[in-house]
């Protein structure tokens, strides 16, 4: 009896310790290297997005939470058109065929990068999908989110706006170059 009481008490402690994940602020650290090809075969790096706030999303086509948040990323792209925000989705450890198969069912206007050997996934130390990094315009990691969210509203949008607000006045203008959809 004593033993089972002990087990029950431990269970309550463990259950009480479970917490929901949320955005994690990071002390502006330089981002790891990103080097991946897009679906057209062009090699992309973070230098391509320098001067813009970057939303870098690690995902996979087999991951239901990843797919659930994708439409909100697309709405965010439309909402932020002309502002210096780059949305980049890096598919983790799948082939181009698998990614294209998914894209035939969902239209997305932001760039999709491929990581078939998982090398970028490992450099960025991604252990769960989706995982998203928010980078400031200097290429430093400022926030990390493990798990999905609605990107065009709430805390996600507030954080993105706060990073955009750090940019010099001229860089925030709607005439700034938007990423060309692929």
């Amino acid at each position: 009896m004593k033993r089972w009481l002990g087990v029950c008490a431990m269970s309550l402690l463990l259950a009480g310790g479970a917490q929901a994940a949320g955005f994690e602020a990071r002390a502006a650290t330089p981002a790891p290297e990103l080097k991946a090809q897009d679906l057209a075969g062009t090699t992309r790096t973070l230098v391509d997005y320098r001067g813009k706030v970057v939303l870098l999303n690690f995902w996979a086509s087999w991951c239901p939470p990843c797919l659930r948040e994708m439409p909100s990323m697309e709405r965010l792209r439309v909402k932020m058109a002309g502002r210096p925000l780059a949305i980049v989705a890096l598919d983790s450890a799948e082939t181009a065929e698998e990614v294209n198969g998914f894209l035939s069912r969902m239209t997305l206007g932001f760039p999709i990068l491929l990581d078939p050997d998982g090398s970028n996934t490992k450099r960025w130390k991604v252990f769960a999908l989706p995982t998203t990094f928010l980078l400031d315009a200097s290429g430093r990691v400022r926030h990390v989110l493990t798990g999905p969210t609605e990107w065009d509203e709430g805390e996600a949008l507030e954080i993105i706006e706060s990073l955009l607000a750090e940019l010099p006045a001229g860089a925030k203008s709607p005439t700034g170059g938007a990423l060309t959809p692929q």
């Binding site: 002990g6 087990v7 431990m10 463990l14 479970a18 450890a93 130390k125 991604v126 252990f127």
Partner: protein, 233 residues
């Protein structure tokens, strides 16, 4: 509050330290020379797993199935597996070896932690007679974005043969080489098999693919195939 938690933890620890008991488990008897010890994940035992165990027994592989969250009244969380008294599991492994059959343990997800700790608690000669198959084992202590992964040290696994079954469609797949290295550093002889087109826990997914549904129904065949190809005897 801290004192209260410490008190509860102490009561819990002492209560387990008193003695090791073989945990309650479900037995699917068979006459063959193999005995499979099936340890379900932190999410508990699923119906397709029970069906597979029945099918294995029908094909001559005796199967003992253990649902740790049910046996110890634990919440369905990965951390619950870390709270399982591994001495109980070690007693279970010894009871299985006493049957005279060839014993293979099959543990799912975080259940790998108490199973490996139990294996480490065995005498070297007992451990060398044991084979362990781990389905997408979760041995992380820390797995934070941008930080090096840290795996649990469970004790000496010298002489233990471990086969990892890793579904391809998993965020853990790129990290498999590091996991195998970690097992080897603890003394295990570690190998792996990639299960193509499958996700972790494919037999209990809310929205399974057609292929996952099919594979869930023939999990017994997959396990028999891997057992035979591995040849752990």
């Amino acid at each position: 509050m801290r004192f209260f938690r410490w008190l509860l933890l102490s009561v819990w620890t002492v209560s387990f330290a008193v003695q090791a008991d073989v945990p309650d488990h479900q037995v699917f008897p068979a006459q063959g020379p193999q005995l499979l010890l099936w340890v379900a994940s932190e999410r508990g035992r699923a119906e397709p797993e029970v069906h597979a165990a029945q099918q294995l027994a029908a094909q001559g592989v005796e199967t003992w199935m253990l649902d740790l969250v049910a046996a110890y009244f634990l919440p369905q969380l990965p951390s619950s597996m870390d709270a399982v008294p591994h001495q109980d599991l070690a007693a279970w492994l010894r009871a299985a070896q006493a049957s005279g059959k060839r014993v293979v343990v099959y543990a799912v997800s975080r259940a790998a932690v108490p199973v490996l700790r139990a294996a480490a608690a065995l005498e070297p000669a007992e451990r060398q007679r044991l084979c362990v198959m781990l389905m997408y084992p979760n041995l992380y202590t820390v797995a934070e974005p941008l930080a090096e992964p840290d795996f649990l040290v469970v004790g000496s696994l010298a002489g233990l043969r471990v086969q990892v079954l890793q579904p391809r469609r998993s965020a853990a797949t790129p990290w498999l080489p590091g996991l195998l290295d970690h097992l080897a550093k603890q003394g295990a002889t570690a190998s792996h098999v990639i299960l193509e087109n499958l996700r972790e826990g494919y037999w209990m997914r809310e929205t399974p693919t057609e292929f996952e549904i099919t594979e869930s129904r023939r999990m017994d065949a997959m396990l028999l195939r891997e057992l035979n190809q591995w040849g752990c005897k």
